[in-house]
Amino acid sequence: MAFRFIDTTPGSTARRFVISGAWWFVAGGVVGLTAATELVAPDLIGARVLIFPRIRPVHVNTIVFFFLSMMLIGAMLYAVCRLARRPLYSEKMGNVAMWIWNFSVLAGLLTIPAGFTTSHEYGEYVFPISVAIIVAIFMLTINVFQTLARRAEQLLYVTNWYAVGAFTATLIVFFFGKVMWHPKTSAMVGINDAEWAWFYGHNVFGTWITPLALGLAYFWVPREADNPLYSHAISLLGFWPYFAFYLQVGTHHLIEAPAQPWLKLIAEVNSVGLLIPVYAFLTNQWMTLRGRWWKIPDSVVLKFIFAGTIMYFFTSSEGTIEALPSFERIAHFTNVTVGHAHLGLLGFAGFIACGAGYGVLREMYGEIWSERLAQLQYWLMLIGIIGFTFVLTSVGLLQGLAWRNGETVYRVLPEIFSYYVERGVFGCFILTGAGIQVYNFLKTVYARRRRSEEEFFGLERAAAAPAALTGMAGD
């Protein structure tokens, strides 16, 4: 099939988002591995645009806004359409959003090493690029709303709540958090700026990445396990408190900074409160799997997503502990945070994105090109992320305890050297997994015949699927 810049066939937006994301996973991984190498060999690359401090934000942003965002958006658009039993409202608008997204984030990646940065973590993109991303999110929001407005299935399934919630909240968070009315600096002044920046920085995960991933877990777990969702009431408990708590916890990144004490207290209390929706979500997922555990090894999609939920348990429990001052004193500023971030973004959101990505392609093309390669990728990534988290958490505790013991940062450097090497090694596992994924995706797309529109939106599967999904209401 000839390449069309704007593809209007049903499902093209979702597919293109997913495949772009897979590509950027590799790119972000390469940059990340380079950064990890530069931490043990700082003189590796002399070029000024490729030194560690310039490519670290490139790595972070590629992973968050290219890989995770794009794969999750793609999979979410697919899920919304399937649940509504309607094609996407406008594939044209979706494709335009896809290109805006790709190009704006790419522009961001080129401008950060060139020195155009707001210096806010996860918000390094300068004003024009932020605007482009907001426009893309806005277009996607309209698309989702219009699709849902035309839905054939009256009941709004949980996945859709998360889609709507994520898009709505993110528009607001981006607008305030990036201080859109100060185009020159995108910043407030002093400590106040830190409070705003972390409101934004935290909610990139809280209202954007995580809800999309949670929604996808709600979509795929009942479907793959062939079991109705455990409880509608628990879904509600996992949804509203989630947003209510998450939006207020940004200041837990500043617990010992001179921020307002009452603000820190709010952040800490809400961080503990967050465990309610987190465990509600997990209960719901795992109970849905009751009696169907044997399904996990068979379906690579379920495997990825189930592993993702387990890592969600660990990240979030760890996150709550990190937000408590007594542990924060040791862990803050160290690699414990980096370990937590990787477990959350790669282990939880990344695994769910990969699982959902495979799910989307499998349903679009009938089957994945190679299940075995996908299984291999799963194990490589699993070894990678577990090793990674273990190494970074250990080295972080080592740093934190040494500092508490009066050692200077410089004195601890030689101690942590070998951990940094080890982290690079585990990074290779993850990067290999990413490479396998993109190969497998492309093979699937080019080697398998795409299902026709009738097949795709025909009732035979759709009838079965939402029944299983929304079953808890009817059954």
């Binding site: 700082p42 020195g115 707001t118 806010h120 002044v189 002093g190 409101f199 990144h253 508490r404």
Partner: protein, 361 residues
């Protein structure tokens, strides 16, 4: 309550707006940006350096606030909200791959900073900070000016000391190396000049000292202690040539004092934070044995009891002869206590010792 797209969107929008009000607007409204007692505005050059700091991504490795729990800078000031009122954007940072910089101004001399940006490993051999040798002259000036202003009025005070002593050290250095060494010696309190190293220069001690030397000193003072490490190119005055000190028979407490306190006004940093007492004595042994070639220690090779004034009990022999085997010292193996050279030229003005750590509050 039905979960429709509209109700979900409305509910989330309400929550988000409420949260933005509570955790964004209220904190700003309830805590006005009033200045702290140390803050001052940036000069244009410092501002330029700050922009460079942002563009270069230094924030990825450096934080800019001191916590109540920090040991590193425990005798400095815990950061306050009012310290940041001229910061837009903030540069608090979230990771300490490198040390905190909020009180960095004046901790080191300008030439230390220059050598450090040219290649951090010149002055900090185990550093993992990248080189910034690609900075132009103007950029280098700006970034150093910025780093030296961190800590604001406290930094200004430290910088005033650096500048004051820099002039005097330079003058002494221009007089010639020998004169310089004598001048430096005069700044060291007498009791330190005559104090022997309480740790015997055993092989273990010298070996440990070597390790410390390689991690802290080697690229300034050079692998052979002649002061010709790669950093020397950027430093003025140049690092001390230890072999020069042999003539003056200085070692022991003098080295300890200088290493502990640094030499304000020169690139010689203080190591009080980085090295515990025993490690400084060890590196002093290493320098004395290997470079100065004349060591002054307490002569106490009683295994493990570092008594500073106590030799062996008169009339006894060590129970384990040779347990604390001395590292071989080139040169005459006799015990020499340092004396002040009487015939050396007097420096023009010798105010009281700079009092090493006085560079900090």
């Amino acid at each position: 309550m039905g979960m429709t797209p509209r109700s979900v969107a409305l509910g989330i929008a309400l929550i988000a707006t409420f949260a933005a009000w509570a955790v964004l607007f209220l904190p700003g409204l309830s805590a006005p940006n009033s200045p702290s007692n140390i803050v001052r505005p940036y000069t244009p050059l410092e501002r330029e350096g700050r922009v460079l700091y942002i563009k270069s991504g230094c924030i990825g490795c450096h934080t800019q606030y001191v916590r109540p729990t920090d040991w590193d800078y425990s005798d400095l000031r815990v950061s306050q909200r009012g310290d940041y009122i001229y910061d837009r954007p903030h540069l608090l940072g979230s990771e300490r791959t490198g040390p905190d910089l909020s009180q960095e101004g004046g901790q080191h001399s300008d030439d230390w900073n220059l050598a450090h940006f040219e290649d951090p490993r010149f002055v900090r051999p185990a550093s993992i900070m990248p080189r910034f040798s690609f900075f132009t002259r103007q950029q280098m000036q700006a970034i150093i000016a910025y780093v030296q202003c961190l800590g604001f009025k406290m930094a200004d005070e430290r910088m005033a000391r650096q500048i004051h002593w820099h002039r005097r050290l330079l003058a002494a250095y221009r007089h010639g190396e020998d004169y310089n060494a004598t001048y430096l010696a005069k700044l060291v309190p007498r009791q330190w000049m005559t104090m022997p190293n309480p740790y015997a220069a055993t092989q273990g001690s010298v070996q440990r000292g070597k390790f410390v030397y390689q991690q802290m000193c080697i690229f300034c003072h050079g692998p052979v202690g002649d002061g010709n490490g790669p950093a020397a190119r950027y430093l003025n005055p140049k690092p001390m040539n230890f072999t020069l000190l042999k003539r003056h028979r200085w070692s022991g407490g003098m080295i300890y004092y200088q290493v502990m306190n640094g030499i304000t006004g020169s690139a010689m940093p203080y190591f009080k934070e980085d090295l515990e007492s025993a490690k400084i004595w060890d590196v002093a042994n290493y320098v004395a044995v290997n470079f100065i070639g004349r060591n002054v220690d307490s002569g106490n090779d009683l295994n493990g009891i570092p008594a500073s004034r106590e030799g062996a009990i008169p009339g006894t022999k060590p129970l384990v002869p040779g347990a604390g085997t001395k590292a071989p010292v080139p040169g005459p193996a006799r015990k020499v206590y340092p004396q002040r050279p009487s015939s050396s030229p007097q420096p023009a003005s010798t105010p009281a010792a700079p009092g090493g750590r006085s560079q900090r509050h």
